[in-house]
């Protein structure tokens, strides 16, 4: 045993020492300056250089994650734990206190509330529909019903309901804003989860047209604005809420003839104290 062991030990030890020394030396000599976070991220990664992320190894992944080109969840080997750690390093979830949720600001169900001008032949995507005379609905500001927002949502948090309008599932919504970008009509906005009062319309047509094409359009009458103490202003025939000044209890929502302004959950007194007061106050008056 002895005679074979010695050369083995010497060889391996020698090789090991040679390369270890060389590498340590090289590391010192050839070090390249980089973002310290890359090193931090790298230390969290599995380091298997397996390429499972589709990139050239863990170093590349770390660089891309720090550079924002790759999602923190991009490492399939590391799983959620690693993702959480990387997110912590990058400070992605920097103390966001108010949860934002997407809100759909159109309630014009095609054929029911909103007039339909013609049948449409072509791809169902909203963006494509908007190009052809603005889609089936007569309203050029309302929901096209093609579900581009549904496709854009990676969290299945938005569905087209039986009326053909998108509906957000609060519990699944992460407030990422993908649907906001996807909507060619800008009818989706991010709002704090507990916000209740909205103008559910983006129509800026003149009152006559608006009234004609949709039963639930904001027709720009301005009644809500008059009694809002300045929180609601009329911009191009559309009521716009300034939430920093809003006192929902004084808004005469029941006087809105088309119900374009109103509460997300009309009879949900529990969800929003002030909204509840407004509802009961107006009911009394």
């Amino acid at each position: 045993m002895e005679p074979t062991l010695i050369p083995a030990l010497v060889t391996m030890g020698g090789l090991g020492a040679l390369f270890a020394g060389g590498l340590a030396f090289a590391d010192r000599k050839l070090r390249v300056e980089e973002d310290p976070r890359i090193g931090d991220v790298l230390s969290q990664l599995p380091g298997a250089n397996c390429g499972g992320c589709g990139l050239a190894g863990c170093q590349d992944f770390a660089v891309k994650v720090v550079g924002g080109e790759k999602a923190v969840t991009g490492c399939p080997v590391g799983g959620p734990d690693v993702a959480a750690e990387i997110a912590r390093i990058l400070g992605v979830e920097a103390g966001e206190s108010v949860r934002l949720v997407a809100r759909v600001l159109c309630r014009g169900t095609a054929g029911e509330h909103a007039a339909v001008k013609a049948g449409y032949v072509g791809p169902s995507s909203c963006a494509a529909k908007a190009l052809v005379a603005g889609g089936e609905k007569a309203c050029l500001h309302g929901c096209l019903g093609g579900g581009d927002c549904v496709d854009a949502c990676q969290f299945d948090a938005i569905v087209l309901n039986e009326n053909g309008l998108p509906e957000v599932i609060d519990e699944l919504c992460t407030g990422c804003g993908a649907c906001v970008t996807a909507c060619p009509r800008d009818i989706i906005e991010l709002h704090p989860e507990d916000r209740q009062l909205f103008v559910f319309c983006r129509n800026r047509d003149d009152p006559r047209t608006a009234r004609k094409i949709c039963a639930v359009a904001c027709i720009g009458c301005g009644i809500c604005a008059k009694k809002s103490d300045g929180a609601i202003t009329m911009v191009e025939n559309l009521a716009v809420i300034d939430y920093t000044r809003l006192d929902p209890s004084i808004i005469p929502v029941d006087r809105c003839s088309t119900k374009a302004i109103g509460f997300l959950h009309p009879a949900a007194p529990v969800a929003d104290e002030s909204a509840g007061q407004a509802a009961s106050a107006s009911a009394a008056g």
Binding site: T4, P7, A8, T11, M12, L15, G16, F19, A20, G22, L23, A26, D27, K29, L30, V32, A48, N49, C50, G51, G52, C53, G54, L55, A56, G57, C58, Q59, D60, V63
Partner: protein
């Protein structure tokens, strides 16, 4: 002629990826985009040729004479890993463009089975030095070929409606399987 046969054999007939299952991890991982595939293929070819040379020398002048064949695995991987890391550092320092194009793929290659597999095959088949280099080159070209074909297909499939559960690794393996079926046509050529 002999060298040509070794080259074609390694590159096409007994393609490392499609018939020896070597280097599957990068084959699946890095075949998403053609540009990365080309870089990865070239980097791998470089390392394969280097490995062929270094391990042959190591075997012929150190392990062989000292009758330490049983240390092959340990010694080879140590040498390859260190060398690759060293080359990466050098490239990174000396040529940032080359590093971005090839260098970043180097660490990924250390754990590519094809590298160690090549070293072991060379010993198993008793190739000489030149033969080893050609074999390494052939294996590298074959790997690059498979990787580029796959990358082209996957870029095309990006635009296809591949069923959800098969997207990613699933369809890649199925395509690889079909490619392996197709490459069976070359069977028996060498």
């Amino acid at each position: 002629m002999d060298l040509l046969l070794i080259f074609i054999g390694a590159a096409v007939v007994n393609n490392f990826v499609l018939s020896y299952f070597l280097g599957i991890c990068p084959f699946i991982g890095v075949s998403g985009r053609l540009s990365s595939a080309v870089s990865m293929g070239m980097a791998t070819t470089f390392v394969l040729v280097m490995t062929a040379m270094v391990t042959w020398v190591l075997q012929a002048y150190v392990l062989g004479p000292l009758r330490l064949e049983y240390l092959q695995t340990v010694a080879f991987i140590l040498v390859v890993a260190s060398l690759v890391q060293f080359v990466e550092m050098v490239i990174r320092k000396t040529s940032p463009p080359l590093y971005r194009a090839l260098g970043i793929f180097l660490p990924l290659i250390t754990t590519n089975c094809a590298i160690l597999g090549l070293a072991l095959f060379i010993q198993l088949r008793g190739y000489g030095f030149v033969q080893s280099v050609v074999f390494g080159l052939g294996a590298g070209v074959g790997f690059t070929l498979a990787l580029c074909l796959m990358a082209g297909i996957r870029e095309e499939l990006d635009l296809a409606d591949v069923p959800g559960p098969l997207r990613g690794a699933g369809i890649t393996l199925l395509v690889a399987g079909t490619m392996a079926l197709a490459f069976m046509g070359f069977a028996g050529m060498i």
